[in-house]
Each structure stands twice: as C-alpha cells, then as structure tokens.
C-alpha cells in the first residue's frame, strides 16, 4: 500500500519545481528564466534523484515513525497533521454524526410509514438534495444567503475560529468553534443526509417482512420498542459498514467544503499539497487516511458482531 502510494504520487504529471516556476510566472510576472532561477534554489528537490533511493530513505524514516519534512516548506509533516487533523475530525465528524443519526431515524420512519405523505416528501427532499454536488450547495449558500439576502454573516464564519481568540475549555471559545463550524457542518449534513435516509429506508424495508417482526407485533410490543429494538437494529446492519468506511475517510476531510469555507482542515491542506506536488505531505496524509480506513473497517466487523448476535465472525461454515 505504502509502496504503491509512494510510486503513484511521484508519477503524477508535473513536479514541485516546474509548478513553482509556473506559479512564479503567473503570480509575480517573472520571466521564465527569472522564475526558473528562483524556483531552482527555493527547495532542495532533485527531480533526477533515483526513486529507489528516495524510497529506501522514506521507508527507513517511516519505520522509525518519522513522516519526513515537507519538500516545499521543510516543515515536519507530523506537525502539519497535528495542526490540521483536529479541525477535520471535529467538523466532518460532527457532520457525519448528525447526518447519520438523523438519516437512520428519518429513514426508519419513512419505511415504517411507507407511502404516507411524510415518506413521499422526505423521498423527494432526500433524492433532490443528494443529487446536488456539495460545491454547488456551498457556493449558492454563500452567494444567496450571504451576499444577496445578507442573512448569513459568512465572512465572519470563515476559518476555524476567530483570529486572536484564546483557545481553552470555555463557553465563548466553544461557541466560537461551533459558529465557525456551522457552514461546513451544515453543508456536509445537507448533502449527505439524503443518502443515509434512503439507504436506511431501503434497508429497513428488507427487515419489515421478517418473521420475527411479525412475531414481535403479534406479541403486542409497543411501536417504539418495535422500531428501535427490532427493526432499527437489524436494518442498521448494512449501514454500519458504510458508516465505518465514512468514518475512515473522515481524516481525509471534505476537500471542497474546507477549501471554500477556508476551514483549516486536512482536506484543505491535502488540496494544497496536491496542487504544488508536495510529495512528502501527500504521502503523510494518504498514509493516515489508509490507516484509518483499514482500522475502521476492522472496527466495523467487530461492531457488526455485537449488533447482530446471529453473526459470529470467524465461525467457519462449510457451505
């Protein structure tokens, strides 16, 4: 995996040097030779250094837990991860939590009241919202609510926190964090909620006809208990794996949303790193994503066994 990623990102068209040259020319109007000269000395990146040599050095460091330094800024990659990861975990995590929670609840009710007005309205809402890409929602939200209607003080809401505010476990700081997280979380929820609702609904549908549900109903269990303990729990099973994969990808952040809202998350950082071909930073971020995806999948399998006692993983069946 690591090897594959290592080779992959070095085969990407362009390299940090030529990109810097182009940037200098476009942004500072330098002539080619001027830009080439300046870029050449800006970072010690040698495009002709053998890949194998770079690879052995990288792996050697990695085994000692060292992710290396950014080839652009010479900043240790670990520092960057530590700086940006918490923001992403907070905002995307919160967004996922809300959209998943709301999604399974509404989805279950949709299936339960199948064919009702509630079901139809929610289906329309979910399908349409889920069909619109996040950047369209984000840009329209800012332009319409922020600029044209002026009901959203979006300029103040950009970023992760108000510049100059002292971090600490205080109410004003927490409120400030939530204030700034509102835009990314809201956009994240609104664009992913529909997906959870519809999958939960369809998953619940497969459960509804099951014998044990009929039995439970015959036993006269309350609707609430029926929904939570019997239907919901079983219907959630396939969603748990999906959730796990989403959790795994949290660390990658929401690249477009973070960039548009200037949220200081790992996704924004990744976008920059890809743009300037900062190989070491990309490696670091992709590694963290890979680890967390694999890890959350393992977790999902374990969780799955807990949620559905019928399945005991590792039990060998010959079929």
């Amino acid at each position: 995996m690591t090897t594959f990623t290592f080779i992959l990102i070095r085969q990407m068209p362009g390299n940090p040097f030529s990109i810097k040259v182009e940037q200098l020319m476009r942004e500072q109007n330098l002539t080619v030779e001027e830009a080439t000269n300046r870029a050449g000395a800006l970072f010690d990146f040698d495009p002709n250094r053998p890949l194998l040599e770079q690879y052995t050095e990288y792996m050697g460091k990695l085994l000692r837990g060292d992710l290396g330094k950014s080839i652009i800024s010479s900043e240790p990659v670990m520092n960057m991860l530590l700086r940006f990861l918490p923001w992403t975990l907070f905002s995307v995590g919160l967004g996922l939590l809300i959209s998943f929670g709301l999604g399974i609840l509404i989805g279950m009710l949709m299936a339960y009241w199948r064919g009702s007005l509630f079901d139809n309205v929610m289906t329309a809402f979910a399908s349409v919202m889920y069909g619109i890409p996040d950047y369209v929602i984000a840009l329209l939200l800012i332009i319409v609510a922020g600029v044209q209607l002026r009901i959203l003080p979006f300029a103040q809401m950009l970023g992760g926190s108000t510049p100059g505010i002292e971090p600490g476990f205080r109410l004003d700081y927490i409120l400030d964090l939530l204030f700034h997280a509102f835009l990314p979380v809201f956009t994240y929820v609104i664009t992913s909620l529909g997906g959870w609702m519809l999958t939960m609904k369809s998953s619940t549908m497969s459960t509804l006809g099951e014998d044990y549900i009929t039995v439970a109903r015959a036993r006269g269990l309350s609707q609430r208990r029926l929904l939570t303990a019997y239907i919901g729990r079983n219907a959630m099973l396939p969603l748990v794996t999906r959730l796990a994969i989403s959790v795994g990808f949290i660390v990658g952040g929401a690249v477009i949303i973070e960039t548009l809202y200037q949220y200081p998350g790992l996704g924004r950082n990744l976008a920059t790193a890809i743009l300037v071909r900062d190989y070491t930073v990309m490696q670091g971020i992709f590694l963290v994503i890979a680890i967390s995806v694999v890890f959350s999948n393992i977790l999902a399998d374990l969780l799955f066994g807990l949620l559905d006692p019928r399945v005991r993983l590792g039990k060998e069946d010959a079929s």
Partner: protein, 395 residues
C-alpha cells in the same frame, strides 16, 4: 457517445413497425388481438427510438407477453386449462421455448401491474420515461446550438450569458448558446455512461460481496483485503497518473474504470448483509438442503436485499454522473459537447454560480440529474413490490 446511444429516426420507426409484425402475427394466430396490437405499438415505438437495438429486443418481450396469454402449460395439471388427460411431461424444444417465453411474459405482466398499482412508483416511472423521451425525441424538436454567438451579447453586458427569457427558456451559456438545447442533447450520453457505470459497480459489488459472505474463509479474506486495498488507494493521484498514460476514444472505458474503483463500499455492505441473512432460518434450511450456491444466492438471499441494492445502484449512477466529467477533464477521453457534466464543469469554471444571469448553466444540468435521481428512487417503489412481494400486504 456510446454505441447504443441514439436519437429517434424515421428508418428506426420503419424497423420498429416491421419488428412489431412478429408479435402481431403470433397474436393473430392465437386470436389475442389486444396484446398483439399493443405489442406492435411497443415495437414500433422502441424501434423509432433506438432502431434495431430497440426493435429486436422488444420483439422478444412483446412476443412473450402475447404467448403468456395463450400458453397452456401441459406439465401443470392444476393451473392448466388443459384436460387432465392431455397432461404430457414430454416436451419438445418448441414447447420448452414457449414455456420459457410464457414465463417471461407473465413476469412482464406482473411487473406492469405492480407498476401501475403503486402511485409513487408510477410517477417515478413517468419521470424516467420523461428523461428517455426527452433525450430520444427532444432532438427532433430542439436543434443543437453548438456555435458561439457573439452577436447575442446584450448591450452593456460583459458576457454572453443570459438569464432565462421567452426565447431561451433556460437562458444562454458562456458562449451565448441555448442552454435548453444542451440539456436536451447532453443527457443521453451521460445517462447511458453513468447507468452502465452504476450497474457494473453494483454487479461487481454484489457478486464479490455475496461470494465473500457465503463462501467465507480464504475467499472472504482475499476479497476483503482487496476491497481494503482499493479503498485505501488515493484515487485522485491514481486517476491523474492513469490519465497521463491511458486515453480512450469512448466513454464505455470510463464506466468500467469507475466501476473498478468504486465497488468496495457497496461490496462490504452486501457482505455484511449476507453474513446476517446467512444465519436466518430459511437460508440455513436451504444450505442444509444443499440447494447450491446459486440457488441460495439468487432465490433466498438477494430478494431480501434487492431494495437496498437498487437504491445503492442509483447512488452509484449519480456519483458516476458527477465523477465521469472529472475523468474527461483529466484527458482520458476527448472533450465532447453537449454533455451535462461538461456544462457543470465549465459553468463552474466560468463563474456561472456567482451571477443570477449565468447560474442556469450549472443549475439546469444539476437539477436534471437530481430529478433523474428522484425519478429512479420513486420508480424503485414499484420494483420493491415486484421483487419483495411480502411488502404488498404492508406492515
């Protein structure tokens, strides 16, 4: 864009009408005039829309329906209209063919009945039909506007964009071209490519997921590890690199590439679901009876998941609709207009979302995709009833 993408043609109509003679003739032979006429119409219509590719499959379907009205199953003494004495278990090839066709016809009829019964599903069906009609027959009514029109610039305007007006109901794009014509002409290729991508993704995911769960052991481990590998490959760099070495002439390859990269999420969900289903009584019973892997998968496990799978397939189609344009702009295939994806990409790049006069260039295709997705989701209501009969009784 794709070989079978097509616009309605007059020769197609003729082909369809000729094709329709087959079910009509058979119907006359069986004296079932009504289904025969309907069959002829269906053939003519699909031939009009898609030429041979529409007409020929429709022969099979309509013939099957016609036969299902007339067919007498001699093997089945209980439902058969034949006298007990005529029951005959010896079957000629022709009889076998007839039986199979009749079975197919019955399914089609049952499906149509279910389709009509569920109101929401029927609306969804109409929606899907609308998109089909729009992309196939729309071009006959609305000519494609492909050249830039600098002459359409309004005085004082800095762009060729225009807000919707009576003449151009969806406004003009950045080159002063009629957006409506791009919406009408630009959907077919994308829907077909994305549809193919979604179906392929689902097939790979369901087959691998079901196999992993039912076979277990090494197979499970290998498939799961493979899905993890795909999940953890950073996709953007991968696509960049692929695009720099691979180029294709058609979008079919893009659909396949999309499917190869996006099956793991659904595969893991299917695997989990099948693992759970496997432990249920009826599946265990089937396993105990040693009914065979295919029987268990197709007859016992899949029907219980069909609704979930179909919804996920729709989502895959939607993701594909938005992702495939990304591959186009990585250079994997030549840039071809009109295309909804290209409209969205170029519109965003041209700042269309910053201005109410230009926003339709992006919103029109986005809403088309959203409504198409809505139609599909509602359409699945009917499909659920077809595949999951227990639901018909309601909860």
């Amino acid at each position: 864009m794709i070989g079978f993408a097509t616009i309605a043609t007059v020769p197609g109509l003729l082909i369809g009408m000729v094709c329709g003679l087959i079910p009509l003739g058979i119907a006359l032979y069986y004296r079932q005039l009504r289904p025969g006429l309907l069959g002829w119409l269906a053939c003519a219509f699909s031939g009009f829309a898609c030429g041979f590719l529409g007409g020929v499959p429709m022969i099979v379907l309509t013939t099957a329906v016609v036969i299902s009205y007339a067919y007498v199953n001699k093997q089945d003494p209980f439902t058969s209209r034949a006298a007990l004495a005529e029951v005959n278990f010896e079957e000629t090839r022709l009889e076998l063919l007839l039986r199979l066709l009749a079975g197919l016809g019955n399914s089609v009829r049952a499906g149509l009945v279910a389709l009509l019964r569920n109101k929401a599903g029927f609306i969804g069906f109409l929606g899907v039909l609308f998109f089909f009609l729009m992309s196939v027959f729309g071009p006959l009514l609305i000519p494609y506007d492909g050249r830039p029109h600098p002459d359409r610039r309004l005085p004082e305007s800095r762009t060729l964009f225009q807000a919707p007006s009576a003449q151009f109901p969806l406004g003009l794009d950045w080159q002063g071209r009629d957006i409506l014509s791009h919406v009408v002409h630009g959907g077919q290729g994308l829907i077909l490519t994305a549809g193919l991508a979604g179906v392929l993704t689902t097939i790979i995911a369901v087959v691998l997921g079901a196999l992993a769960a039912l076979l277990g052991g090494v197979v499970d481990q290998v498939f799961s590890a493979f899905s993890n590998f795909i999940l953890t490959i950073p996709q953007f760099p991968l696509l960049l690199v692929l695009a720099s070495v691979l180029t294709f002439e058609s979008n079919v390859a893009l659909a396949l590439l999309f499917a190869l990269l996006s099956w793991p999420t659904l595969m893991r969900a299917v695997r989990a679901q099948v693992l759970s289903l496997r432990e249920r009584d009826y599946v265990e019973a089937a396993i105990a009876l040693d009914l065979g892997l295919w029987h268990i998968t197709l007859r016992e496990v899949l029907p219980n998941m069909i609704s979930y799978i179909v919804v996920n397939m729709i989502f895959s189609i939607r993701v594909a609709m938005y992702s495939i344009v990304g591959l186009v702009f990585l250079g994997m295939v030549p840039l071809r207009e009109p295309d909804w994806g290209v409209m969205i990409f170029v519109g965003r790049q041209q700042g269309a979302l910053s201005n109410s006069i230009s926003v339709w260039m992006v919103l029109a295709p986005v809403l088309a995709i959203a409504l198409f997705q809505l139609s599909l989701v509602m359409f699945t209501r009917s499909l659920e009833e077809v595949f999951n009969p227990r639901l018909r009784s309601g909860l």
